[in-house]
């Protein structure tokens, strides 16, 4: 394949990856930003979202597009409810101590994963895309659904941004992020804000999963990769900075496709992992975040 189309494909794939990364990571970033909680179970919320999408699309007698739309609404709601429950029952009682919450979310990770193994089984199962549409260029074909994923991610991220900057709830969340005690002094119910934030973060992971599952398969171990990638994006973008997260997702998504053309993909992963470690050590505010 000549260089032009090659680059086009790399850019297309990079954009899809960036969109998916941004959507998956933004929830993690939000939870860390507002609650200072590193949610290691984030990938499992993603996975539960995908598995719920399988259940909904399999058992609802609607055409694929409709049942997928239903899944897009129901799965995040259920996941958000699970997250709110986990927050109330577990994280709140730990008073959000950073280290204890990490251990607890590792525990939640195993519990969710194993619960899905029991209820859903170990198989990878496909979820049909809401529509099948292939774009044919002179050099290669491309999935139209993937382009839809990019558009949908953009729309959802815009909605999140509007919610955070324009709505009262978003304002309350940002106030709590700045100072939990002052927020409490102003009569903000911090417990509810936290539960809501945790639910929102998990719900966003589930939305990402429902969008992505038609191009992957629902599998009980699928949460591992999104978790690590989200970590990479959130840390390089600056812990807790949503804008940094988005920039990092774009940079990493676009560069990953190109880098893995020149290096072995395993080597690319090694370099990305080490980069994260080095960023935390030498530039904890992230590469794109403002200085704390």
């Amino acid at each position: 394949m000549s260089f032009g189309p090659f680059l086009l494909l790399a850019l297309l794939e990079g954009t899809v990856m960036a969109a998916v990364l941004a959507l998956t990571a933004v929830g993690l970033s939000l939870v860390f930003g507002v609650m200072r909680v590193v949610n290691v179970a984030h990938g499992e919320f993603f996975m539960v979202g995908a598995v719920l999408a399988w259940f909904v699309t399999t058992y609802l007698p609607f055409p694929p597009a409709l049942s997928w739309l239903v899944a897009l609404i129901i799965a995040p709601l259920i996941v958000a409810a699970i997250a709110a429950l986990a927050d109330t029952l577990i994280l709140k009682r730990l008073t959000y101590d950073p280290e204890a919450t990490i251990v607890a979310t590792i525990g939640i990770l195993y519990m969710l994963q194993q619960a899905v193994l029991t209820l859903y089984g170990p198989d990878a199962r496909p979820v049909p895309a809401p529509f099948e549409w292939r774009i044919q260029t002179p050099w290669f074909g491309y999935s139209g659904y993937k382009l839809f994923v990019v558009a949908a991610s953009g729309a959802i991220l815009t909605a999140v941004w509007l919610f955070m900057t324009r709505s009262r709830a978003g304002l309350v969340m940002r106030a709590t992020q700045v100072d939990r005690d002052i927020a409490r002094a102003f009569g903000i119910n911090v417990d509810r804000v936290y539960a809501g934030t945790f639910a929102l973060g998990a719900g966003l992971a589930a939305v990402a999963a429902v969008l992505i599952v038609p191009i992957q398969q629902a599998h009980y171990l699928m949460g591992h990769d999104p978790l690590l990638l989200s970590f990479v994006v959130v840390i390089i973008g600056g812990l807790g900075s949503i804008r940094g997260t988005l920039v990092a997702a774009l940079v990493i998504g676009l560069s990953d496709g190109v880098i893995s053309m020149f290096f072995s993909p395993t080597l690319a992963k090694i370099l990305a992992t080490l980069l994260v470690a080095m960023v935390l050590v030498f530039r904890p505010q992230g590469l794109f975040g403002a200085k704390a």
Binding site: M17, W139, L221, D225, S264, P265
Partner: protein, 426 residues
């Protein structure tokens, strides 16, 4: 804990499942079994972890084979039980499971594991416990000499023989310039090394070798690396993302020009050929260890086997036509159990003291004719390398079904012995 320390409690679920068939028929067919202690076989099962999609069907096949053996009078007139233990597809747990099956459940031998790292992690312990360890793995580790005299692979041909016997037909019928796509770990490397060697020996050329990390979930970006003058695209993928790989391959080529595609059925094992996005596979070819779609020339016992394991003529579960079996591999469990029966009977196996005799009896096996017990076809066992050799199939996708177009010869898969276990001490 105290209960456990007595060493008496068996795995409840495993005993219920494993013994169910045996005990039922025990009272029915052969009343003398009332006195005969059962032969206990341990099954090291990938019930969870990355190998679980295979594990489920391996368990089902083992149950079916067990029922058949017991219905036919058991082994040496004794009923047979299988104790299943999950190894989580993890080598550390695998070794512990070998220990548990041997010493806590007092199994006579162990069989069943598929994934290479589990086999290699568990085999040393089996060797130390001097318990026969019959793997259903395809890996080249047994015949490659990595393991020990107690480890054997009598139920399925190894990867090296499989890929080597594909090369002549691929070169003659599909093209000479090959690009390979394979997972970047040992199983994929065996494909890479042995197929490349066979292609070069046959006068072809491997243009590119594209290794994909096992954790990858999206593949499109690898596809531009396929050189445009590729005549044959050779693919083999394993794991939960296989369907994504094949679908994205289809999207990439779309309706444009594409090379001949030759894949190992591993890329689509447990996947429905009718899944949306797989239409482009029409006319492409697959290696199959055992033909998923029942072929017109299939022998009578093929139907018996399918009924026993609960699989219909399309390779799907009889209870759910969308639940596709790992048909191309799971026969290895069935055949291994029949090797166990034959080996034990020829060794006059009485108990754990005869384990060495059992290994020697299997080593003495040579030609194994096709039958219901060896449903995949005729085999030749090499007692020196502990590896069995069999026929391989190439099928073409026609109307969403896999139609056999070629059967390799036994000689196609043969290679020089890398090890002689029969001279090693026990």
């Amino acid at each position: 804990m105290t209960r456990k320390l007595t060493g008496l409690t068996a795995s409840r679920r495993a005993v219920l499942q494993g013994a169910g068939a045996g005990l039922l028929t025990a009272g029915f067919v052969a009343p003398i079994w009332a006195q005969a202690a059962p032969i206990k076989l341990g099954f090291q099962l990938h019930r969870t972890g990355i190998g679980a999609a295979y594990g489920r069907w391996y368990e089902r096949t083992a149950q079916a084979a067990l029922k058949m053996v017991n219905d036919a009078g058991g082994i040496n007139g004794r009923p047979v039980e299988i104790v299943f233990e999950d190894d989580g597809t993890d080598p550390k747990r695998g070794a512990e499971v070998v220990e548990k099956l041997t010493r806590q459940h007092n199994c006579d031998l162990i069989f069943g594991p598929l994934f290479s790292h589990v086999v290699i992690g568990s085999a040393p312990r089996a060797g130390e416990l001097k318990v026969p360890y019959l793997v259903c793995s395809e890996g080249f580790h047994v015949a490659g000499g990595k393991l020990n005299r107690w480890s054997m692979q009598p139920g399925i041909t190894d990867v090296r023989a499989q890929v080597q016997s594909m090369a002549p037909w691929v070169l003659a019928n599909l093209g000479k310039k090959v690009t390979m796509v394979f997972p970047d770990y040992a199983f994929g490397h065996d494909h890479r090394d042995y197929f490349t060697a066979a292609v070069e020996a046959g006068g072809g050329k491997v243009l590119a070798q594209i290794a994909i990390p096992p954790t990858e979930t999206t593949f499109t970006r690898y596809m531009p690396q396929i050189p445009t003058d590729t005549e044959v695209l050779y693919h083999v993928m394993v794991g939960p993302a296989v369907l994504t790989f094949v679908k994205e391959l289809g999207e990439f080529y779309g309706s444009g020009a594409k090379p001949q595609i030759f894949g190992f059925i591993d890329s689509l094992e447990a996947v429905d050929m009718a899944s949306p996005g797989l239409e482009f596979l029409e006319g492409s070819h697959f290696w199959e260890g055992h033909c998923r779609n029942k072929q017109p020339d299939a022998p009578d016992y093929e139907a018996t086997y399918r009924a026993a394991v609960g699989v219909d003529d399309n390779g799907a579960s009889v209870s759910d036509p969308k639940d596709i079996s790992t048909y191309g591999h799971m026969f290895s469990v069935w055949e291994t159990l029949h090797i166990i029966k034959a080996g034990m009977e020829s060794a006059g196996y009485q108990g754990a003291a005869d384990r060495q005799k059992f290994v020697e009896a299997v080593e003495a096996m040579t030609v194994i004719p096709a039958s219901l017990a060896h449903v995949q076809g005729e085999k030749v066992f090499n007692g020196k390398t502990h590896q069995v050799f069999g026929l391989q199939f190439i099928s073409r996708v026609e109307g969403g079904k896999l139609v056999k177009v070629h059967t390799s010869s036994m000689e196609d898969g043969m290679y020089p012995d890398a090890v002689d276990f029969s001279t090693q001490s026990f």
